[in-house]
Symmetry: C2
Subunit: 198 residues, 2 copies
DNA sequence: CGAATTATGGACTGGATCGTCCACAACTCT
DNA sequence: AGAGTTGTGGACGATCCAGTCCATAATTCG
């Protein structure tokens, strides 16, 4: 009996996500979101609630998609260490630097909102905990595969790798050259991943 | 012939800086800034221009003060490696975690504004370049003092150390326990600073 | 075909925000 | 002491923004 929705919820979330990603939370107005989603006010508010709820929904979807991709890549990667390298250098894939300047939606959101929005901070902790778990698995696999020192504490290295990635992302947003950025990531990686004693 | 200012410019900059630091750029209103500075609109606009100019002034002062402190600490530090460790663990000094949650004004600003404010991005590049210079000096001294492998490229290590610090700052803003945060920083440090061959 | 239910999108409101402007106060130099 | 110059702070306007509300349209079930 109900009239069916005329829009695809996921498509709206993606459009809204890109707008938040490009402009940041505060600098994005509801009018912007209505424009990029193509919806009217009643529809957007009816489906997602207010601006903050919509943002949190977008952020959770973004995090979930990233985690899923990370797990899939770990399964498909030839070696565990490949995932770790990909992870740290993820922003340097685009040679134009556009991806590096845009950064990561989660990292940007933490810096803008974590102090005043506890739910954003909690979502970040949840997401990073999960990332550390995947990275730890990847590192343990790399240890079995002989690419990383088996005596290293995989969990500790995973956290250091995460910190390095967040640092590379932050530097990328300053507009640093992609070549330099890549070098920074590789430099950090080569030192964070202790080579096996052989 | 001119009537003298009734306020101390540096004192105003500090008050305004704290407000921007606590709330972020967009979330801070000019009314907030008038309140914390104690000035009227004419005085604040007359002395610093509009909100963006005022913010940039505050950010530059903040960066300059940080750099000055870094250089002074390098001179007074017993060993070069001490400065590097202090730098990465700077946010973990407050056991309550308040400093970690507040993070770094520059790092926060990059994430919120770098994409849309080229002057903020440029200021960040300038500041981080200078930080890398100081860190490189500290590492070279540490190499002479036998605390760091003399074969390592000090400039490369300096950039990796900066990335690690930015990562620790980002994680600190999520509200991560200070003990865990400290462990992450120490883990990254122990791997980024190659011990001398002995 | 008719009734009931829900999506839709624009109108509307109350409030906040940034920046300008102006009248007054305070101070300095002659 | 007076004239001129500059700081001061509140009033004001124009804009923007988030969220509510309602009349209408579209769809499904009886």
């Amino acid at each position: 009996m109900p009239r069916p929705r005329e829009f695809d919820e996921d498509r709206v979330v993606v459009a809204v996500r890109d707008e938040f990603w490009n402009k940041g939370y505060a600098a994005t107005s509801m009018d912007d979101l209505l424009r990029v989603s193509g919806l009217g006010k009643g529809s957007l508010y009816g489906a997602f609630g207010d601006k903050h709820s919509l943002f949190l929904r977008v952020l959770r979807d973004y995090d979930d998609a990233n985690l899923l991709m990370l797990r899939e890549r770990l399964e498909s990667a030839p070696r565990g260490v490949d995932l770790v390298r990909e992870f740290v250098l993820s922003m340097t894939g685009d040679p134009t630097g556009a991806a590096a300047r845009r950064g990561c939606l989660l990292a940007n959101s933490i810096a803008e909102l974590a102090a005043s929005a506890p739910d954003v901070a909690a979502e970040a902790r949840r997401s990073y905990d999960a990332v550390v778990t995947v990275l730890t698995e990847a590192l343990e696999r790399a240890q079995r595969e002989g690419d990383v020192d088996p005596d290293a504490n995989a969990g500790e290295v995973a956290r250091a790798v995460l910190a390095a990635q967040l640092g590379v992302i932050a530097l990328g947003r300053t507009g640093m050259d992609v070549e330099v950025l890549t070098a920074v990531g590789q430099s950090a990686l080569s030192r964070l991943l202790p080579a096996p004693a052989q």
